[in-house]
Symmetry: D2
Subunit: 142 residues, 4 copies
């Protein structure tokens, strides 16, 4: 059953292309993160330090992507985000990149929510309570 997806639309920019005339693959990861950020703002995150630590401080532990079709300068991409995994502190996002109806790439990103422990280091921490129910509708049931 398909989950709800969040859509972020963005143009492939000139600086994202390489001399082969197509978007350099490393930029797909920038687009993924940009989409995650816009998603969290859409869910209610605010700018500012408090929300940053609560909503955004989630180092990535793994990412992957497959590139199915070349994309070019000026293409408009819809980046579709859903949640493919939600643990106590870890979260996995799934991304589909569409140009119109055409799937041009897909990928996923796993992150772990962290907080500062007493000596200033980082330790994994639970996904924020207020965030969890907001993520539910986007969770892929398989």
């Amino acid at each position: 059953m398909l989950a709800q997806e969040f859509r972020h639309t963005r143009r492939v920019h000139f600086q994202d292309t390489d001399l082969a005339g197509i978007i350099h693959f490393s930029n797909y990861f920038r687009y993924m993160e940009e989409t995650e950020t816009e998603f969290l703002y859409a869910l209610g995150a605010q700018s500012g330090e408090a929300d940053f630590h609560e909503w955004f401080l989630s180092p990535r532990v793994g990412v992957q992507a497959e590139f199915l079709r070349p994309t070019r300068f000026g293409d408009k991409l819809d980046v579709m985000l859903s949640v493919e995994h939600m643990g106590r502190s870890s979260i996995g996002f799934r991304f589909r990149f569409l140009r119109g109806d055409e799937l041009v790439a897909r990928g996923s990103m796993r992150a772990v929510y962290v907080g500062h422990n007493e000596n200033g280091g980082l330790r994994s921490t639970a996904i924020p309570d207020k965030l969890r129910p907001l993520l539910e509708p986007y969770l892929v049931k398989e």
Copy 2:
């Protein structure tokens, strides 16, 4: 007398920050170019190879910027573009970066329109005829 300005709004993204917690200055130049691209699309440029060669193939010959206030993750910036110079083949864009009413940075970028000559090299060429009148309203009169 102030010229018309084109506005492109964008968020400062996580990946654009550095460990000092502020946007890394090199990204302002990415924002400038992104704004120029959106400007040309707004004027009527189409995706595709023909328009690319006519509207976008303008290597930069010089750029500069001043950074007046630090900008941070989540800030929304309005990038305001005007034309400060228009020669036969060269064009100079001026950029003001606003966070609300506050001017946080400003910069400029000079480019030269080029075409391919018979041996495949590049030579400067006139600003496209259909582009010139569209740029006029954005030209700063001083």
Copy 3:
């Protein structure tokens, strides 16, 4: 049995960090590609258009990475490349990121060699004949 590994050493640069004080994950993919390029130059590739088309024109079809330890500004990383797969036209590189003796990240990248067909499009083509034997010593036997 371990294959030979190619080593590329590089510093984590300021612009590669983000506001969490660690390297932004998207840069690992830049480091991977940089390492592949230095590897091909070490094997004998020359700058210039001919070698570019023969050695380098291999669009990526998939990449993945795992981030095991945070890396910081000023860290020196040894990026270790080996070949984990070699097909007719496809190649898979494996990367290990070491900070001293410590494995901080690992990843892989799959690419397909392509050439231009008669209508200017791209089609997959065999790995160049002179490249294949040079890659052999780096092939991981499992």
Copy 4:
């Protein structure tokens, strides 16, 4: 009279090119900063937090560059750094980009040394005492 220059050699990487087949101009600023970092390490800066705050925490207040010749994938560039200005807290670096004997670009970057004040904000501070004499040989006398 010419000052001593620090040299940092680096290759133009694939990901630094754009679809016009040349290096995207925004990367020159990355190369500048990379060169400044290598320069400070060569002068004796160490990795780690203390040296970071003393040697590296200098937000940029302005940068500019001129692009004289296109540079391409695989080109080796020598980035030559000298000091064109040294005030109480401000410093100006000058950069020349050479491909062999050919000057392909030049630029400059102004920065201000800062420290944290009592409320955690940033204020300009003097260039570190141990850094100033080390910079002297690189100061351009005009």
